[in-house]
């Protein structure tokens, strides 16, 4: 028999595959504290984007009436603020709805290259599917189970209103006569259902194309808006209660587009864009999407200028939202605590603290603590045998290393940095003058830690609540996967699985689990679409480059060299590199943010770092401190070339643009163009 696994984290996507009663136990409402997230439950179109596993689908699930009914019927606290608690919602998950069958079969009578027409049929399918879902949700709200929720929303649930609604809706011109003869709610439900079945039968090659469809194609979003109108007109829905429509897994449409269109034009995504851009406040849409499917911002999809960011659509980016800023503390650590606590409770463990991450993984481990616990070999190795210092200074540093290897390594760097400026004696070293330079020391501690472990021939270690949360990089899936690997290592270290909740898991077990998780995420890059293999090789090149730089920098002059910066104008001149780096960010392989370089001549810049979870794989610090490596566009092109990413090199156009800019600068400097 196979070993029985007792790992509470074996299924990472629990909230996508469980019953509503389990969902209300597992769902963490922490993100709902963010006012931006609350927009999901208020009128207005919202695009909810984030990396895989950032929690998009779990949040969108909260719009489902079945889930809200479960909250009302259980002991769990209602998760939404009062002002976000009244709405009627319908939804479609593109992957499971059958919408992705489009593209599986050419529509008869439609030329293969007539993408627009295929888009129209796709829009028609979506309309019927969403209206069908709305009908199903109405049934729930009119039932005994949904009574409580309906009254909380303020619906009028007299049964006769449903037939009135059906009559109103089916007679509307938007259907182009397709629902003629429908007189009751039941008939409406059947008619809509039949239309969907006909689409599915055709797309699955079980029937010919229904000829009547070509005369009754509905406009994108129109029947949904009419359905919302009818709900208000017949009195079911109060005027102040919004109708919210969720469209999840938007990124899956890209695969479909690649099948249909030679150059992957956004035929299907544009349909959804059109729905959002209708400037129609009868219905509000929520679109769950991965960043890359937005194709470098919403604007690129504005085929017919339908959507403008922040006017028709609010963009809620979970990755940005959880980013700590100087002005605000990130919710991510609290999110991790809450998710972990719920998982452990679900697994049957008692005594789980509110600060579950700290309870399980122990407090933040300082570099000194890591060295104290893990460096088993001779500490004399910490200090280099060669350097701009004599043996007396080295001996003094070795003396410090026996007690505090991190301080010795910092001391060595301090000597290297200052030996040319001043005379340094062994007596100076014993006083450890660098220890009073708080910032200088703080900025170099992680690099010192890396160099200490490397000098002693040991792998860097990662453990404690601080490391676990930082390495997760604001992605809850990454956090859970680390928990999964650490727990698996824990199980293997025991003859029996833990009966009671483990606390302060052994740092060795944690570090091996985290290393495994990091390797897993590194391998996983390959499996992602749109050039995962290229990104995997590029990241490998970059990670090894950073490691070598940080190790060889014995002066510790560049402790921030685990990231690189580029002038934005250079990036924009090179569309291949620009696109590639953008993809790396969109797929969560790199993180980027604006950078103000020290030298003004570099102009507005952007800096890129590896996703933190990849740090253990490359054995480099995850913290972003000091200045990143100031790269040139040629160097980035070389990294891409070395890792086999197909590029056309640095284009001659870009070189010419740079040359002319340089000439302009030189000329203006020579001419002293003072204002007249």
């Amino acid at each position: 028999m196979k070993q029985n696994s007792l790992n509470p984290f074996n299924s990472l996507y629990r909230t996508e595959s469980i019953s509503t009663s389990e969902f209300v136990s597992l769902f963490s409402p922490v993100l709902l504290k963010e006012s931006l997230v609350q927009r999901l439950f208020e009128p207005g179109n919202v695009i909810l984007c984030g990396l895989q596993g950032s929690g998009k689908s779990a949040l969108l699930n909260l719009l489902e009436p079945q889930v809200l009914v479960e909250y009302l019927n259980s002991s769990h606290t209602w998760p939404l603020p009062a002002h976000c608690s009244r709405f009627v919602a319908a939804s479609i998950t593109l992957r499971s709805s059958g919408a992705l069958l489009f593209g599986q079969r050419a529509i008869e009578g439609v030329p293969d290259d007539n993408e627009r027409v295929i888009g129209l049929y796709f829009a028609d399918f979506l309309n019927y599917w969403i209206v069908s879902d709305l009908i199903e949700k109405l049934q729930l709200l009119f039932s005994e189970d949904g009574k409580l929720l309906a009254s909380k929303i303020g619906l009028d649930t007299r049964p006769k209103l449903l037939d009135e609604f059906a009559l109103n809706l089916s007679s509307d011109a938007c259907w182009l006569g397709a629902l003629e003869g429908v007189g009751t709610f039941e008939q409406l439900k059947n008619a809509v259902e039949i239309r969907i079945r006909k689409y599915e039968n055709f797309l699955n090659y079980n029937s010919d194309f229904p000829e009547e469809f070509s005369r009754t194609k509905t406009g994108a979003g129109e029947p949904i808006a009419v359905a919302a109108d009818c709900l208000r007109n017949v009195g079911i829905l109060p005027d102040d209660v919004p109708v919210l429509v969720t469209i999840d897994q938007f990124e899956d449409l890209m695969d479909l587009e690649r099948d249909i269109s030679d150059n992957g034009r956004p035929i299907f995504r544009r349909v959804i864009w059109k729905m959002l851009g209708n400037r129609d406040d009868r219905v509000s849409y929520r679109v769950g999407a991965r960043l890359y499917s937005l194709d470098k911002g919403i604007h690129s999809l504005r085929g017919s200028a339908t959507v403008e960011e922040m006017r028709e659509v609010n963009v809620v980016n979970l990755d940005d939202l959880l980013q700590a800023r100087e002005s605000r503390v990130s919710l991510f650590p609290e999110f991790c605590d809450d998710v972990l606590r719920r998982r452990l409770l679900e697994a049957g463990y008692g005594g789980v603290a509110k600060k579950a991450v700290r309870q399980l993984f122990g407090p933040r481990a300082t570099p000194e603590k890591k060295v104290e616990e893990f460096i088993t070999k001779s500490r004399a190795n910490v200090v280099s045998r060669t350097g701009p210092f004599d043996h007396t200074i080295r001996e003094a540093l070795v003396g410090i290393a026996e007690r505090d290897p991190i301080s010795a390594k910092l001391g060595e760097a301090w000597v290297r940095q200052n030996s040319k400026k001043q005379a340094i004696s062994a007596t100076d070293i014993v006083r450890e003058p660098w220890s009073s330079r708080q910032w200088w020391k703080k900025e170099r501690k992680q690099q010192a830690l890396l160099q200490v472990f490397s000098a002693c021939g040991q792998k860097s270690v990662w453990y404690g609540s601080g490391d676990i949360v930082n390495l997760a990089g604001r992605n809850i899936l990454t956090f859970l996967s680390m928990c999964q690997f650490v727990w698996a290592e824990l199980l293997r270290s025991m003859d029996e699985g833990p009966i009671d909740l483990p606390k302060d898991i052994d740092p060795v077990i944690q570090t091996l689990g985290i290393n495994s998780a990091s390797d897993y995420w590194f391998r996983k890059i390959k499996a992602e679409p749109k050039g995962g293999d290229d990104r995997n090789r590029f990241v490998n090149e970059l990670g090894n480059f950073f490691r070598e730089k940080l190790l060889r920098d014995r002066n510790m002059s560049y402790p921030g060299n685990n990231g690189f910066s580029l002038p934005l104008r250079d990036v924009e001149d090179e569309s291949v590199i620009d696109d590639f780096l953008s993809d790396c960010v969109a797929f969560g392989v790199l993180e980027s943010r604006p950078h103000t370089p020290k030298s003004r001549s570099r102009g507005q810049s952007e800096k890129w770092y590896l996703s933190p979870i990849l740090s253990p794989h490359f054995q480099i610090p995850a913290a972003h401190i000091k200045e990143p490596y100031y790269a040139t566009i040629q160097e980035v092109a070389a990294w891409m070339k070395n890792s086999g990413v197909v590029t056309v090199g640095i284009s001659s156009d870009a070189r010419a643009i740079r040359r002319s800019r340089q000439e302009e600068r030189d000329t203006s400097q020579l001419q002293f163009p003072f204002d007249e």
């Binding site: 196979k2 088993t376 472990f453 490397s454 040991q458 792998k459 293997r492 003859d495 570090t511 495994s516």
Partner: protein
């Protein structure tokens, strides 16, 4: 050594392997995966209080006291080739659907594109007798896996090669009729695992002695280089005998007592280790030295039983001095 004690040692090895020079962490992950997916299938230790793989691995490493030797012994497992139940079933199916079928098409000169190809192949199959060289092959499981019906007679060569009577064989196995015509003119000899091939060749020699009217195919599922060479030589020399193995092991899964020119660079260290630790393992009636039967030096472990030409450090038990990882179940006295 207990499993928990060994895990502590293993974790230390991982952390000390700073630049992955020893590949310990990768090996650890591979073995953890294989433990979960495959190693629990090893039949000999499934019952009888032998403990699970993780515990046996701890005992095995604990046979040695020196940390460097322990790590070296652990690293031997990077070369292990474990044949699981699923792999064996896949080999059964491949033997039939690929090797036997292709052979029949060749000997009967069937063009796959001719209209009656299926019919002709069915006729050839009806004229084929499947036999097993030893009972470890499991002809019943082979027939089940390939849905071969009406194969009532399941002939085993092992035990029948002494005083073998060709006339009786023709009558009872090849369904010879009164006029001396054999109905089963295609004879297939199947075997699951072949080392040097001594047992196999006895059967092959008898089968080919029936004359050119009987086509003979030798189809081992897994075969070691020495056995493969012998089979190929026979096949080259005899027209009506063909050899078609499902998987012929590469030399890299075998360590020889003396270094070979293009061997794995790690083999020098492993060779030294096997020779160094052999005093803890040697003894008993089946003593073949550190490299196993006929000095084959195999790292192959089929799920049903470990062959004696796999290095004894993996499978041999010695009271008070050596606990094996995959205990071998032997027919001979141990």
């Amino acid at each position: 050594m207990t499993r928990a004690e060994f895990r502590t040692i293993l974790q230390r090895w991982c952390l000390e392997d700073a630049r992955d020079a020893d590949g310990i962490e990768d090996l650890k992950r591979d073995l953890e995966f294989l433990e979960r997916e495959l190693f629990h299938e090893y039949s000999v230790t499934a019952y009888g209080g032998h403990a699970n793989f993780g515990a046996r691995l701890a005992y095995w490493i604990g046979n040695l006291n020196n940390d460097a030797d322990r790590k070296e012994l652990y690293r031997v497992l990077a070369h292990l080739f474990f044949i699981g139940r699923g792999e064996q079933e896949a080999a059964y199916r491949t033997a039939y659907s690929k090797h036997v079928m292709q052979w029949l098409m060749r000997v009967a000169n069937i063009d796959p594109f001719q209209n009656n190809a299926s019919q002709m192949l069915a006729q050839e199959l009806a004229a084929t007798r499947f036999t097993e060289v030893t009972d470890s092959f499991g002809i019943r499981a082979f027939c089940t896996a390939n849905q071969i019906q009406t194969e009532a007679l399941r002939y085993k060569w092992e035990g029948n090669t002494e005083n073998w009577d060709p006339a009786a064989f023709r009558r009872s196995v090849l369904d010879e009729d009164a006029n001396g015509n054999v109905v089963r003119k295609n004879l297939v000899l199947l075997e699951d695992f072949v080392g040097s091939g001594s047992q196999m060749l006895d059967a092959v020699d008898l089968a080919v002695s029936l004359g050119p009217e009987v086509n003979v195919l030798l189809c081992p599922l897994f075969i070691c280089p020495e056995g493969a060479d012998e089979a190929r030589n026979r096949s080259n020399a005899i027209n009506h005998f063909d050899y078609s193995p499902v998987l012929e092991f590469d030399q890299r899964f075998f360590i020889s007592p003396a270094p070979l020119a293009d061997e794995n660079p790690e083999f020098a260290r492993i060779r030294r280790l096997l020779q160094k630790i052999h005093p803890l393992i040697q003894g008993g009636p089946q003593e073949y030295g550190p490299f196993g039967y006929r000095q084959t030096g195999g790292f192959v472990v089929p799920y049903a039983n470990c062959p004696d030409n796999t290095v004894p450090a993996i499978h041999k038990r010695m009271e008070d001095s050596w606990r094996p990882l995959f205990l071998r179940n032997s027919r001979l006295p141990v």
